[in-house]
Amino acid sequence: MSESQWILIVDDDEDIRDVISMLLARSGYDTEVAEDGIVALHKIRARGRPALVLLDLRMPNMSGSEFIDAIRKDALLRTVPIVVLSGDAVAIQSVEGLGVHGYIGKPFDYPDLLQLVHRFVGSRVNGNTPRP
């Protein structure tokens, strides 16, 4: 995995962040977590461009859509794939026009998430679909 092949998980729900991070780590992915948009931007600034951002929309301080806005205004980060994780279908519709690369509705199963991760980051364990 190159230096830049890391996945950023942004969600104000600590348990979700943790469980996704743990499962992706078991599948061989490098992950970082952030509880809101501001923290997420800090992490990017610290580690550089992530391979994928898994993004919740409803968060304090900086919401998901505000984070997308901020990323899309940055020439270097503009093309970073973003997959929205949300339980709110209305909120997902509201960011459809903002150029997100995919979304997955909460609650979801891990294989569905992993499939999306594969699409943007690729397989990590013997070319097979990693299992949690």
Partner: protein
């Protein structure tokens, strides 16, 4: 005789006077003129009576001659006897024409009647005298053949009465009368003989010893008298019949003797038989109806006093009680000295006429009263268009005077009044059409320039089948039209105001109201105490409407007032007793708003108020629906969050239970399970609160202990947030509350402080203030904006965007509901960026 007299006059001491039919002396001559103290020529042309007035016998003879009677008289003039012969003059055609008088001085012996003279006398008067012996043999007779019958005197003498009357029947009235006379009685009888009627007087004739030796008789031919009496009676009968037919009776009152005579018909009119009337003035007055007696007396007395003709109407009462109306005309007859002799006249029973007249008067009076009491203006014209009748209401409606109406034709009135109309031309056409078609009826609406409305009905006036004119009836329907237009306008306005898009609806309504009410309309709305002009519409660009509301409108009362010369009207708009706006109208130049306008505008105001209220409710409902939708979205998110964690953790545990991360995964499963249970509880609480089913279990609870328990439970969150927590509390604060609910309140407030505290210190104070315990939770986080402070206790409300903060937005709503249920109160003090302080006060004793 005139020729013979003329000859005698020339020779002897005599006098000849020719008298005209009217009693004038035509010619008088003769030496004897001197004996009468007159001279020839003095008397010609004078009245005979005036010239010879000193000799009444002479005048009487002339008067008789003028009436066709021949007269012989002896008179003495200055001791000289004169024989007078006076005879009627006849013209060549045999008609009477004046009289002739011849007087001649006579010997004194000449003045005694000779037998010859007696005979001549008897011949010349229509009578006969005779004597009979006891055997009724006529012993002497004298009289003209006409009177004695066809038998000559000499042949009569010696014949018997039976021969003369050609009857020997002892029952014959004449022979019975003779028989009685021979017994000593005198008898007078009427006897018919040979078609003539004689009045016969028979007397017994006695000798010197008194023995009845025969009879003396005298007869007078009264045929002419009887004929004339019969004619009079026939005439009277005819008069009576005529009186009966005409219901005219006659009367005569001899004033001196107070004797009143009535004709048959007058008896009939009074409903009584002949003989029932006492024949006095008083008896007459008694039959006059008491109400009319005084009047009758006064009329009669007045006529008596002035001695002049009179007439009057009075009522009488018949014995059967029926009332008759009589018209009496009378005259007063006076003597030469002006003394009233009698009054006479005729009486006409005009009861039927009177009744008919009364009925007609009643009818006319009824018609007049109807005409004047109707609310319609009525005008009647004849076929030529001349005004025949009208009522006061017509004048009132058209603003006309009686002077205006004098001599004006209908066309002139139409010309005078129709310029007042907006649709004058159409109305004129209709009038012309009616003139061209007398049998037609019409109905027109007249619209006045000043806003009034009349209805005009027209139909022909007929007598039997003939059209004699036309009746025009005008009705002022302004009020009705206004009400109708008002109702239609209000219906339109209601339809337009039914839209929930209130401002366009108000504008559409204003356009309709502008055409209905007048020249300009303004709508003002009051929000947060500030008046905002929503719109102003005006037909005249120069027209403005002040935004200053009149005092009455500010006080909530509709008002009509003037601004300059323009009539204005303002209708306040209220909602829940608060003034929320106003509708203001300005009238057209010549018009003034009235009560009807005010009532219509007020009704419009009520509809606008309703529309504003509906719009407000609609906005509120829409907002409430949006809040609910948002809540559902949030609730879904809030539930999906823990569900996601739970499922992923379970998946992780399922596939690799021995992994190093498994204990953390199990912790996640535990926490998220509880989170879901809490969310479910929160939703259930809301459902209970909404349904009014929130229940409390009261028991002694230590607020300090509960708060510490909550803090212990929230320690992981607190540590993740980075905030520090300090608590100031006495050892115990015990009150009668519901433990789990107090826990819920503390938990919500402290969770919020951690959530929005930005990692800054959080202070908790528990204290007792009087009978209440207070729990104060203070953070120094993001704070709450003032407008949000009002609504954070409402369900589904949150002070912050749901995009940033999770939670159902029900926490503070539940807190407030629980605190209220425990008899306490919760308040917030906050400043954005400086943090918030929530203070809960709970009564220590159990709430009632």
């Amino acid at each position: 005789m005139e020729g013979r007299a003329d000859a005698a006059v020339g020779r002897t001491q005599s006098l000849l006077v020719l008298i005209t039919a009217d009693g004038q002396v035509e010619r008088a001559e003769g030496a004897a003129l001197r004996d009468f103290g007159l001279r020839k020529g003095d008397v010609d042309g004078r009245s005979f009576a005036a010239a010879w007035g000193k000799w009444p016998l002479l005048c009487g003879a002339v008067a008789n001659a003028l009436h066709g009677k021949l007269c012989h008289e002896f008179i003495s003039v200055a001791g000289q006897p004169f024989r007078i012969e006076c005879a009627p003059r006849t013209t060549a055609e045999g008609e009477r024409g004046g009289a002739l008088l011849f007087a001649r001085a006579a010997d004194r012996s000449e003045s005694r009647l000779s037998e010859k003279g007696l005979e001549r006398l008897v011949r010349n008067i229509p009578c006969a005298v005779w004597t009979t012996d006891r055997s009724l043999r006529i012993t002497d007779a004298m009289g003209g053949p006409r009177h004695l019958g066809p038998v000559e005197r000499q042949r009569v003498i010696g014949s018997t009465v039976q021969d003369f009357i050609a009857s020997s029947d002892p029952a014959d009235p004449m022979l019975r009368a003779y028989a009685e006379v021979l017994e000593g009685s005198s008898r007078t009888l009427l006897y018919r003989l040979d078609g003539a009627v004689y009045q016969v007087r028979l007397e017994p004739m006695r000798d010197d010893d008194g023995t009845i030796v025969g009879c003396a008789g005298a007869s007078l031919d009264i045929s002419a008298l009887v004929a004339s009496e019969q004619e009079r009676m026939r005439s009277e009968t005819r008069l009576e019949a005529a009186q009966e037919v005409a219901h005219v009776g006659t009367w005569e009152w001899d004033v001196a003797t107070n004797q009143v005579r009535w004709s048959n018909e007058l008896h009939h009119i009074y409903g009584i038989d002949k003989g029932q009337f006492d024949g006095t003035y008083e008896a007459f007055i008694d039959r006059v109806l008491p109400d009319d007696r005084e009047y009758a007396r006064s009329v009669i007395f007045d006529a008596y006093r002035k001695a002049q003709p009179f007439h009057y109407d009075h009522r009488i009462m018949r014995p059967d009680g029926s009332i008759r109306m009589l018209h009496t005309a009378g005259d007063v007859l006076v003597d030469a000295h002006g003394k009233v002799l009698r009054m006479a006249g005729a009486c006409f029973d005009m009861t039927e006429l009177w009744n008919t007249t009364r009925a007609l008067e009643q009818s006319v009076s009824l018609l007049g009263a109807t005409l004047e009491s109707t609310a319609d203006g009525i005008l009647v014209t004849d076929r030529a268009g001349k005004v025949i009748a009208y009522n006061e209401r017509l004048l009132e409606l058209w603003g006309l005077t009686r002077e205006n109406m004098k001599g004006r034709s209908f066309q002139a009135l139409v010309d005078l009044t129709h310029p007042l109309l907006e649709n004058g031309e159409a109305c004129l056409r209709s009038v012309r059409d009616m003139e061209a078609r007398p049998e037609a009826q019409s109905f027109d609406s007249l619209r006045f320039r000043d806003g009034r409305f009349f209805e005009r009905y027209s139909r022909p006036q007929r007598i039997d089948d003939e059209i004699v004119g036309r009746v025009w009836s005008y009705r002022d329907v302004t009020e009705r039209e206004r009400l109708l237009r008002g109702a239609m306008f209000l219906a339109d306005a209601s339809r337009l105001l039914a839209s929930l898009d209130i401002e366009p609806a108000l504008e559409a309504m204003a356009r309709v109201a502008l055409s209905y009410f007048g020249d300009a309309i303004a709508i003002d709305l009051i929000a947060d105490g500030n008046l905002r002009r929503l719109l102003v519409l005006s037909c005249d660009r120069a027209r403005t409407i002040s935004t200053e509301l009149p005092p009455a409108a500010r006080a909530g009362q509709p008002a009509i007032y003037s601004v300059g010369t323009t009539s204005h009207m303002t209708i306040p708009l209220r909602s829940c007793g608060e003034l929320v706006g106003a509708l203001t109208f300005a009238a057209r130049n010549e018009q003034c708003f009235g009560d009807t306008d005010l009532a219509t505008a007020t009704a419009l105001g009520r509809r606008v108020e309703l529309a504003l209220e509906n719009a407000r409710l609609y906005v509120n409902t829409r907002e409430a629906l949006a809040a609910r939708d948002e809540f559902l979205s949030v609730a879904a998110h809030e539930i999906r969050g823990p569900l996601t964690s739970l499922r992923l953790a379970v998946e992780g545990l399922t596939h690799d239970p021995s992994a190093a991360t498994s204990p953390r995964m199990l912790g996640i499963v535990d926490r998220e399970g509880r989170r879901i249970a809490e969310l479910a509880d929160e939703l259930l609480d809301v459902a209970r609160i909404r349904g009014g089913h929130l229940r409390f279990v009261f028991a002694p609870v230590d607020l300090v202990e509960v708060t510490h328990g909550v803090l212990a439970r929230l320690t992981p969150e607190l540590s993740r947030s980075g905030s520090s927590m300090s608590i100031h509390a006495p050892p115990k604060v015990i009150g009668t509350w519901d433990r789990s609910r107090v826990d819920q309140v503390a938990s919500n407030l402290i969770s919020n402080a951690i959530k929005f505290g930005l990692g800054r210190p959080i202070e908790i104070d528990i204290a007792v203030e009087g009978a209440a315990a207070t729990l104060s939770v203070r953070d120094h986080g993001i704070g709450i904006a003032p407008d949000a402070q009002r609504r954070i206790f409402a369900p589904f409300e949150r002070a912050v965007s749901a995009r940033h903060y999770g939670g159902l937005g029900l926490g503070l709503y539940i807190v407030q509901t629980i605190v209220a249920g425990l008899g306490g109160a919760v308040e917030v003090k906050s400043e954005p960026g400086a943090g918030s302080t929530f203070v809960v006060r709970l009564p220590i004793a159990r709430a009632s």
